[in-house]
Each structure stands twice: as structure tokens, then as C-alpha cells.
């Protein structure tokens, strides 16, 4: 516990955080990419076709992890936003702001691939089903957070405003999660239930999905660290360690 608090304390110092990010960034990127390529190849060529949907179900290996990430990143954004609002921790503000574009990307992927999956299976690209609509709202909420943070000059104020919006927008996450149970419309219920243990995907099809879920999280870690580094550099541009980093002589 003590070591953990110490670690968080040290991460609060921008140069330490920058060095930490620089060290781990490539690992996250390459492990994520390799795992994704491996899992997608497996999913595309080495899993059996579905008994009902045939080949089109392979979209699942992209659609489902992306949808998970869309919600996961929003939750991370809101939680770190809460930490930023209450304890005024700079790093939490940065994490919250840097998450928004990544989450928006994953949500966009989930919507686009879901639409492509819907055409051959449901017979339509888009229906105003509860799950689809609430996911579209999630994308708009991401846009709102990004727009708000861009519109405010002062970085720290922008971060706090965006954090508050993320917290308010958090009500949408349970709506997405439970929409398939509350409204019996077109989108089917979840297939993977890690907590309840009655997953309804055949084991031969499940592994690539779980690997993709890990791969997307690794990529998120990479992208988050990179974006956070950029923000740290912008915030600290006057400091000595940044000058040294930029390759200019420190002015002493």
C-alpha cells in the first residue's frame, strides 16, 4: 500500500511521469499490435463459421472489443475526472482529457462495424434500437467532452469542465449496458458474461475475442501515454527538463 501511494506521488511529478511513459510506451504499442494481428488472424482464418450467421459473425472480433472499449474508456475518463475535480491532481486531469479522442475512435469503430454487421444479418444498416441509439449518444458525449475542452483556453479549467461533463454523461453507460434487457428490440443480449459464467460463445470462437479485448486495452495504454506526454510537454514548456529534452542547452 505504502509503495503504491509513493508511486502515485512520484507520478505526480511531470519529468518522472514523462520518463515512465517514454519507457513503457513502445512495449504497450508493440504487444498490443502483435496481439491484435495474432487474434484477428485467428478469428479470420482459424475459427469455424457460425452455425447460423456463417462468415459474417467474424465482425464480432472487432465490433465487440471496440464497443467494450468505448464504454471502458468513458468510465476511465469519468473516474479520473472525478479524481481531478476532488483532489485537483494534474495527472488525473491529463488522463481524463487524453482519453476522450481514443474512446471516441473506438466508439466510432463499434458503430461502423455494427452497422456493417447489421446489413447481412438483420437486413438493415441501422435501426433506432435502444443499444444502437445509446451507443450513438456515447459518441456524441465524447464529442461534447472534446469540444468543451477545446473551447476553453485555460488547460486546467478545460480539464475540470470536461471532467464534470464526463461524470454527468456517465449515466449513459448503464443505459447502454442494460438496454438489451430493458427493451426487447433487435440487438441481442451480451454473449460474454465473465461474472456469471454462462458465456454463450463456443470456446473455439471465444479466445480471439478475449485476446482482442486485451490487445485493445494495450493499445489504449499506449495511446493514452503518448497523448499524455504531449499534454505534459505543452503544460511544462517553460521548465528546464523540457528544454533539455528538446535538445537545447538549459539556460544557466
Amino acid at each position: 500500500m505504502n509503495a503504491l501511494t509513493l508511486w502515485f506521488h512520484r507520478m505526480g511529478s511531470p519529468p518522472t511521469f514523462y520518463a515512465f511513459a517514454e519507457r513503457w510506451r513502445p512495449w504497450f504499442l508493440w504487444s498490443g499490435l502483435l496481439l491484435a494481428v495474432f487474434a484477428l488472424t485467428w478469428g479470420l482464418f482459424f475459427t469455424p463459421a457460425d452455425y447460423l450467421q456463417g462468415e459474417s459473425y467474424r465482425i464480432l472480433y472487432i465490433h465487440v472489443p471496440s464497443a467494450w472499449m468505448g464504454q471502458f474508456v468513458f468510465a476511465v475518463m469519468a473516474v479520473s475526472g472525478f479524481v481531478a475535480l476532488v483532489w485537483r491532481i494534474k495527472l488525473a486531469e491529463i488522463v481524463s482529457l487524453a482519453s476522450a479522442p481514443i474512446g471516441a475512435t473506438f466508439t466510432a469503430v463499434a458503430l461502423a462495424t455494427g452497422s456493417l454487421w447489421g446489413r447481412p444479418t438483420w437486413g438493415t444498416y441501422w435501426v433506432w434500437d435502444a443499444r444502437l441509439t445509446s451507443t450513438l449518444i456515447l459518441l456524441f458525449l465524447y464529442f461534447g467532452v472534446i469540444g468543451l475542452s477545446r473551447a476553453i483556453e485555460d488547460r486546467r479549467k478545460a480539464a475540470r469542465a470536461a471532467a464534470l461533463l464526463a461524470i454527468v454523461g456517465l449515466v449513459n453507460i448503464p443505459i447502454i449496458q442494460y438496454s438489451v434487457y430493458w427493451w426487447n428490440t433487435l440487438h441481442q443480449p451480451s454473449s460474454v458474461k465473465l461474472l456469471r459464467g454462462d458465456t454463450t460463445i463456443d470456446p473455439s470462437m471465444l479466445w480471439p475475442l478475449l485476446l482482442m479485448a486485451v490487445a485493445t486495452k494495450l493499445y489504449y495504454a499506449y495511446s493514452l501515454l503518448s497523448r499524455a506526454q504531449v499534454m505534459v510537454l505543452e503544460q511544462e514548456s517553460g521548465k528546464d527538463w523540457v528544454r533539455r529534452l528538446a535538445g537545447a542547452p538549459a539556460n544557466d
Binding site: 475535480l85 441509439t133 445509446s134 449518444i137 456524441f140 458525449l141 464529442f143 461534447g144 469540444g147 468543451l148 473551447a151 476553453i152 479549467k157 475540470r160 469542465a161 464534470l164 461533463l165 461524470i167 454527468v168 454523461g169 449515466v171 449513459n172 443505459i175
Partner: protein, 224 residues
């Protein structure tokens, strides 16, 4: 109770102000009526077709009318320093924010709700559906005022926040829109509007205590 003295005074002040500027205050109502009148003109006066989409049309116009009046909810007070006074006054900021949100609903949401029968008859809704629309608006417009007001407090420091405000408010309003229009639609197709109305009431119960807190936090961010 001493806690409520300042918020009540603020509410009175806001309502007096709204009454003095009543020509300005009816603008959202006029806007809603005019937009509603555009639909029969654009779609042709077929009563059947109009009635089918009436719930959605009424809700969208009410939402947009509300949005028009939200932009200036906190801006004036921020510019003349009143919000700073709220912060240093030692009064409960959530209660003050709540009073302001309530004043906005009384000045904008309530008239729009009361206009529901008029909107319904313009769109050719049968009586039972008009009643559902009234109930749905009564439950939904307070949520619109409260959540919209919170977003308005966030954007108060920006000189031209109109579009951004819409971008923030509208996604958050989609559940209200879905259930509000869903209640009317259900009545039209012979189903019970009760579940949709219950969801709206549930959202209202959640928003009543939470939005003043969020709004207070937003005011703190904007006023600093």
C-alpha cells in the same frame, strides 16, 4: 428555515425579472408554436400522417425552444460578478443553483407544458394522446431545464457557446426525448404510456437532488 432565505430571494428576483421582460420570455413559446406550425405546412395537412409523428415533433420543438433560452442562463451573472458573490456569500451554492434552475423551468418549461394541448391540436393528436403529451412534458421539461442549466453553467464563460451548448445538452436529453415521444406513440398505438412516464418520473427523481450539485460544481469551474 434560514437555509432557504437566499435561494427564495433569488427565485423571486429571477421571476420578477422574467415578468418585467415578459415580451422576451414568451419567445421560446412562440418559437415552439411556429416550428410546430411549419410541420403541417411542410408535410401536407394529412391528419393521419401528422398524428403519427406528433409526439416526436412536439418533443423536438420543446427541446429546441428550451435550448434557445438556456444560453444566457448564467452568462449575465458571470459577467457582472454576481456569480462571484454567490461563491463568497457563504450561502449553499447548490441551493442557489437549484433556485435558478427552478426559475428557468417556471419561466420556460411550464409555459411550454401548458401549451401542450395547443401543440397537440395543431398536430391533430387525439385527446388521450394529448393528455399523455401533457403528462410527459410536465415530467420531462424540469429535467431539460436542470440538465440543460448545468451545461449552460459550464459554458457560461464562453462568449459564443450556442452551438457547443447544443452539442453538450442534446445527447444528454435523448433519453427524455425517447421516453417522452415514446409515451405519446404508445398511446397512439393502443399501448399503455405508463412505463415510459414512469421512466421519465424516475429521471426526474434522480435529477432533482443531483443536478443542483453538478450545477454548483460547474459554476465553481466557470467563475474561477
Amino acid at each position: 428555515m434560514s437555509l432557504l432565505v437566499a435561494p427564495t430571494a433569488l427565485l423571486q428576483h429571477d421571476l420578477t425579472l422574467a415578468w418585467r421582460r415578459r415580451a422576451e420570455a414568451v419567445n421560446p413559446l412562440l418559437f415552439a408554436l411556429m416550428v410546430t406550425a411549419l410541420f403541417p405546412l411542410a408535410l401536407g395537412p394529412e391528419a393521419n400522417q401528422l398524428a403519427r409523428i406528433a409526439g416526436g415533433v412536439a418533443w423536438v420543438t420543446v427541446l429546441l425552444a428550451n435550448l434557445l433560452s438556456l444560453d444566457v442562463l448564467f452568462r449575465g451573472d458571470l459577467e457582472d460578478g454576481s456569480l462571484d458573490q454567490w461563491l463568497v456569500s457563504g450561502q449553499s451554492l447548490p441551493l442557489l443553483a437549484g433556485a435558478r434552475l427552478l426559475a428557468h423551468w417556471l419561466a420556460t418549461g411550464l409555459p411550454l407544458t401548458l401549451a401542450a394541448p395547443l401543440l397537440a391540436s395543431m398536430l391533430g393528436l387525439p385527446e388521450d394522446a394529448a393528455l399523455t403529451l401533457l403528462a410527459a412534458l410536465a415530467l420531462g421539461t424540469p429535467v431539460v431545464s436542470m440538465v440543460g442549466g448545468t451545461c449552460a453553467a459550464l459554458t457560461a464563460a464562453m462568449p459564443r457557446a450556442g452551438i457547443l451548448l447544443a452539442l453538450l445538452v442534446l445527447p444528454l436529453m435523448v433519453p427524455v426525448l425517447v421516453f417522452g415521444a415514446g409515451a405519446v406513440e404508445a398511446t397512439l398505438t393502443g399501448l399503455s404510456p405508463l412505463p415510459a412516464l414512469l421512466w421519465l418520473a424516475s429521471g426526474l427523481a434522480l435529477a432533482l437532488p443531483l443536478t443542483p450539485l453538478a450545477c454548483a460544481a460547474a459554476i465553481r469551474i466557470s467563475a474561477q
